[in-house]
Symmetry: C2
Subunit: 403 residues, 2 copies
């Protein structure tokens, strides 16, 4: 697919995916909510203690389910970080919400928890946090704010499978299990993949029954199959949020290799962190740090360059060596869609990460040799003079902002 | 999956599905809009002359794209048949629309085209028609009404792949190509399947560019990949409407067998029609008819019984013989969700089909022997006295209202 010797991402097939897909076909059901979907729900409920899980066609769709479940109505205010993927905000905009964007932390691209409370008004309904790079936000702080103001919290845990938050009392909770609702992604760029895919976790029992209805196009079909009602019909709004068994079967094969995948990804992460220490110090580039209350799930490896020019030069430099590294995100508060809706506050750290952050190739099949090639290249990186602005072709080729 | 000797539906695998899925994985891209998605777009654009196609995760999602594209806003009125699946209406309710439901035709479960115009007000924005059982609505009539009142039309062609409408001038148009927008389903119960899946057809150029944006979560990512813009960002509302390449690869294998599948399904349909002629006349059961302006795509075979009791008895009778037949739909205008929103009109033919219609087993792998077994059984069907009401267990087992 990619024309690079070392692409940014490569979807990994663990071995049993096609066998399980064949099994789903043989079993006679490849639409949604079949045996693989149910196996996955049970896996997550047992292994991570999520109270209730519902597989979705994408994390975007899981966020849209959350917005419907929270009864978001026109004018309701939702507090969201600006440095995130479009869907985190768009899901709530679809229900008519007003978005109040929060800046990132100085020391981490995640939401600055200390800047949430000042945005709360009597119209605020929910806070959505994003566990960027699979690294936890300070959830005790966020939940305390929410509880004091009687707000809902959604964890956008798109990148955060198998990552944890350590509470003040030392207890560890899996990300996605702490707030009222959580959302995960199984997009091909994630640790565990289904091509496209996602999941909603429902940690507050009040939402459990309605979540099933919204998932099934606003019908009580799930209760019907359990024999709780004698026919099913249209009882609420909803959508077709459930994925095919084809995707569920593929995903289940991946989940059965979760531990192996996580081990390998942590090796890759640690090798980058160690191998780039010297050059980063030399060039004033920041390596990722993991706060004491968070764990690392080896989702991504990024560097924060000194400035945009250095970042763009590093990407172009790696490109010349046939290595695809990418940046993200365009800040949402200054996006074409939102700029006229924004309240005018500057969000300097959002801009900083948007300008200066670069993600290095990261996938299961990245070999030690390939990784050493990348590390060696970066170690030999010097400030190369390129006349600004970058040619469009270069800017374009480096900008595959994989979700 | 099903516990019946002859289930209602069996997803059919044509032979190349897993090979193509493997190829997608080897190609290095299993998220959306990869090479199989693009192959499918080209297939439909060439074979059926749709101006532009966008594959979606479901027909529900294609309908939701249509509602966003038409800029449906709170208070806008949309005219829709009541005898249809929930999503036809729900997609517009999600945007705040007021639904005005239309009755079915006396001679066919499709929308009564003569009852549309009386529902048009100055708030009406669009008419959504459903080609029930893959049999065309009278599109010349519908488009004439829409044109005179300056309304948009959406064809819900969920069941209507490879079916046609013959205009007054004798020209045949594929269903889904006539109105401004069309929607298809590739749910496992359809002729051509992807497990879950759908497609939006865009026949009016005004919608083409924005459709791509809405499809890609409200971003201009598709234009970015074509090199038309040098970075992409949030420019509109949208969702993650695009399916994984896993589903697209599966679907492409199916499409490569479209002609063979259609031949076989037409044989099954014709065998039912011929084999049940006698018993239907004897018992006053109505067989399906195809209007002169429509074609039959062998999507489903249904019977319209004399009354609900006869229908329920036929379903129970077949169940005793290990054959699963099913009914649908619950009328939307009297659903729990909508009953208090409805304007009070009675829709007698909607109720009639909801009470009296039964769908017989219909899938590619249904053998001649199995079909003869069903036909023979129905030929021996007599009015059996069962004390009403039917036991809940029976009502439940017959009610799998597959979409």
């Amino acid at each position: 697919m990619s024309n690079y010797k070392i692409p940014f991402n490569k979807p990994f097939i663990t071995g049993n995916e096609l066998e399980y897909i064949q099994d789903a076909v043989d079993y006679g059901k490849i639409s949604g909510n079949g045996k693989y979907t149910q196996k996955i729900h049970r896996f997550f409920e047992r292994q991570f203690g999520f109270k209730k899980c519902l597989l979705t066609t994408s994390c975007t769709d899981a966020l849209e389910m959350a917005a419907i479940l929270l009864d978001v109505e026109p004018g309701d205010e939702i507090i969201i970080p600006s440095y995130t993927f479009v869907s985190t905000a768009n899901a709530f905009v679809l229900r008519g919400a007003v978005i109040r964007f929060v800046d990132s932390r100085k020391d981490h691209p995640g939401i600055d928890e200390d800047k949430i409370e000042e945005l709360i008004t009597e119209k605020t309904k929910a806070i959505v946090v994003v566990h960027y790079a699979g690294v936890a936000c300070d959830m005790d702080k966020v939940m305390d704010i929410a509880n004091r103001h009687n707000l809902f919290v959604v964890e956008d845990a798109a990148q955060a499978i198998n990552s944890y938050y350590e509470h003040a009392d030392g207890i560890r909770s899996p990300l996605g299990s702490i707030a009222h609702l959580g959302t995960f992604s199984f997009h091909e760029t994630k640790n565990i993949i289904a091509g496209e895919g996602g999941m909603l976790t429902i940690n507050d029992d009040r939402f459990a029954e309605r979540a099933e209805i919204i998932w099934e196009k606003g019908t009580n079909r799930t209760a019907f199959f359990r024999g709780e009602v004698d026919k099913y019909g249209w009882v609420d709004i909803g959508s077709s949020f459930l994925p095919s068994e084809l995707n569920a079967a593929f995903l289940y094969a991946q989940l059965m290799n979760l531990i192996r995948i996580q081990q390998k990804r942590m090796c890759i992460w640690n090798r980058y962190q160690k191998g780039l220490e010297g050059v980063c110090k030399r060039l004033g580039i920041r390596q990722p740090g993991i706060p004491g209350y968070a764990t690392n799930n080896g989702h991504m490896y990024y560097l924060v360059c000194r400035n945009r020019r250095q970042r763009d030069e590093l990407i172009a430099y790696l490109k010349e060596r046939d290595v695809l590294s990418v940046f993200h995100y365009q800040p949402l508060h200054t996006s074409k869609f939102f700029q006229d809706r924004h309240d005018g506050r500057t969000l300097p750290y959002t801009d900083l990460y948007s300008h200066n952050l670069v993600r290095l190739p990261f996938y299961y099949e990245l070999t030690v040799e390939e990784q050493d090639y990348i590390i060696d290249a970066i170690n030999n990186f010097r400030r190369v003079e390129i006349q600004p602005p970058l040619p469009v072709a270069v800017a374009r080729s480096v900008a595959d902002q994989a979700v």
